[in-house]
Symmetry: C2
Subunit: 318 residues, 2 copies
């Protein structure tokens, strides 16, 4: 049984522990990494031994967080997951920690309550906002560098304060971090204002190849192996592509069909208010959230197109 | 000679006046309109007669500001320009006010000091941030509706807190406005998350027609009358186009040259760290900010292209 703890109690617990390992979720984003980095540097500044583990290699983009990756140099005596909604999200190489996590700090309402102690605030748009409060509670000195780590989590999980999850407290936390020295300009530029050449090329391809159906309510983008070979994008270049058309006026369903083999397509579904992405993906054996889901379909492009069109039509008629 | 006044003095002046006309700049954006709307509604709430004038028809997108457009129903006894850096920016139909403006509230460092009294804070990223302080100083009750007007100016002029001009005070003002009832979700969706069909078409045109110079540091987009006739965009559809390429990796200067007549082009300049937009625009008699400026050039497209290339080269070599 999970024991719910508030920020004050979480601070007390952490202050009483040492040799702490922090775990991030797989396919890590700015929030899990920024939060873990801030907490790790904070605990180290209090004289503790602490390091971070993640299933994946940490992408270069996050080098500025200077994450101390766990190298076995101390025996782990306390394990804390950060921004990890379920143990299955730790990834294969960290699956050995399943059932053994002492504390989880998270903001996902869907948290599966796997840790012994759970510090969960689902009204915070980023785990980093909780980490900020936790560090303050532990009286960690928030240096400009630690402020940068927290700010990274805060802006990446809120689209730099754009998402509807943003609250007045989020903006106030942002203001405080800026005052503490967070590099607003540099971090925003890094995460929101420097589209790679490849992702610009992909956007151009997308705009020239988008297909609209059902009075423009459905936007379908076929991304063939041929196009991928021509453009040669990194996986991170493709990140924004699936949700691009959802922000177009009138579009309720946006689907990206990315060819991954001779007759194999990875499908990303994004929806607005009028359709359920998870339901569309589930029709093909996939799953996900209400507004973002995915699946795989085997067959040629025309089969994929027609299958999806049929399912989207059903979804829009509900 | 212009008389510089602070917010406190500006509040006193306005409190002592009545029958006030507020002037916006031509080709109005969210900041000039949101600021004028907030100030107008605030002054009306204090029992004064007040209305707004703009050279252009106010775009539908701003209907939520419910701007009381001046209809001649009261004799104007005090004239205030809002977010207008120079009298030439009032537009032809308001040129009769040149030399007769009693007060200017602005945040452009390049303000040409044309008004009798000037309330200028160039460290504020939006005129709306000044208007918020001014309304507070005048003890206007900031209703959720007035908060929406101010928030419109604040987010449109800061890219929803993304631009480097954003300060801790900007985020704090945003937080306060949200607490006062500003509709963060609705306004962000309206201005940043619902691209019109026409603006998507313009983006496609842009990606297919962008010209790169100086190792990709300069991106030039010619937008001809012919393209405009084909696409038929509203002025608001073109808003985002000028800064689009600035967010591309490596681009330091992004210029949009929009044809406005047979041999006439409206130039929008956007820059990164390495170049001064205002300096480039100033070379053609224009002006603006360090990162965003504009001017007009007469001549054919090839003349415009070559003139700008020369000036950008100079700017990048500085």
């Amino acid at each position: 049984m999970t024991n719910r703890v508030d920020i004050k109690r979480t601070a007390q617990i952490l202050l009483g522990r040492d040799d702490i390992l922090l775990l991030c979720h797989k396919n890590p984003d700015g929030d899990t990494l920024g939060s873990a980095a801030a907490l790790c540097h904070g605990l180290i500044s209090l004289g503790k031994r602490c390091a971070v583990c993640c299933h994946n290699t940490i992408p270069e983009k996050y080098d500025h967080l200077r994450i101390p990756v766990y190298d076995g140099s101390f025996p782990v005596r306390y394990t804390v997951s950060v921004d990890v909604a379920g143990e299955n999200l730790l990834g294969d190489s960290l699956s050995c920690y399943a059932g053994k996590i002492d504390l989880c700090v998270d903001h996902h309402a869907s948290n599966s309550r796997y840790a012994q102690n759970l510090c969960l605030y689902s009204d915070r748009p980023a785990a980093a906002q909780i980490i900020y409060e936790l560090l303050k509670e532990m009286q960690v000195e928030i240096t400009p560098f630690i402020a940068d780590c927290i700010y990274t989590g805060l802006i990446t999980d809120t689209g730099c304060f754009r998402y509807s999850s943003t609250t007045p407290e989020t903006l106030e936390t942002g203001a405080r971090l800026m005052r503490l020295g967070a590099d607003h300009k540099g971090l925003v530029e890094k995460f929101f204002m420097s589209k790679s050449r490849k992702s610009v090329q992909l956007e151009q391809y997308a705009l020239n190849n988008l297909e609209y159906y059902f009075d423009g309510k459905f936007a379908f983008l076929p991304l063939t192996s041929q196009a991928l070979e021509t453009i040669q994008p990194l996986p991170t270049d493709i990140d924004g592509l699936s949700s691009m058309a959802r922000d177009f006026e009138g579009v309720q369903v946006s689907v990206l069909a990315k060819q991954t083999g001779e007759n194999r397509y990875k499908i990303s579904v994004r929806t607005g208010e009028e359709a359920d992405a998870c339901r569309i993906a589930a029709a093909f054996g996939g799953g996900g959230h209400l507004r973002a889901a995915g699946c795989e379909i085997c067959g040629d492009m025309e089969y994929v197109r027609q299958s999806i069109i049929k399912e989207v039509e059903r979804s829009l008629c509900r």
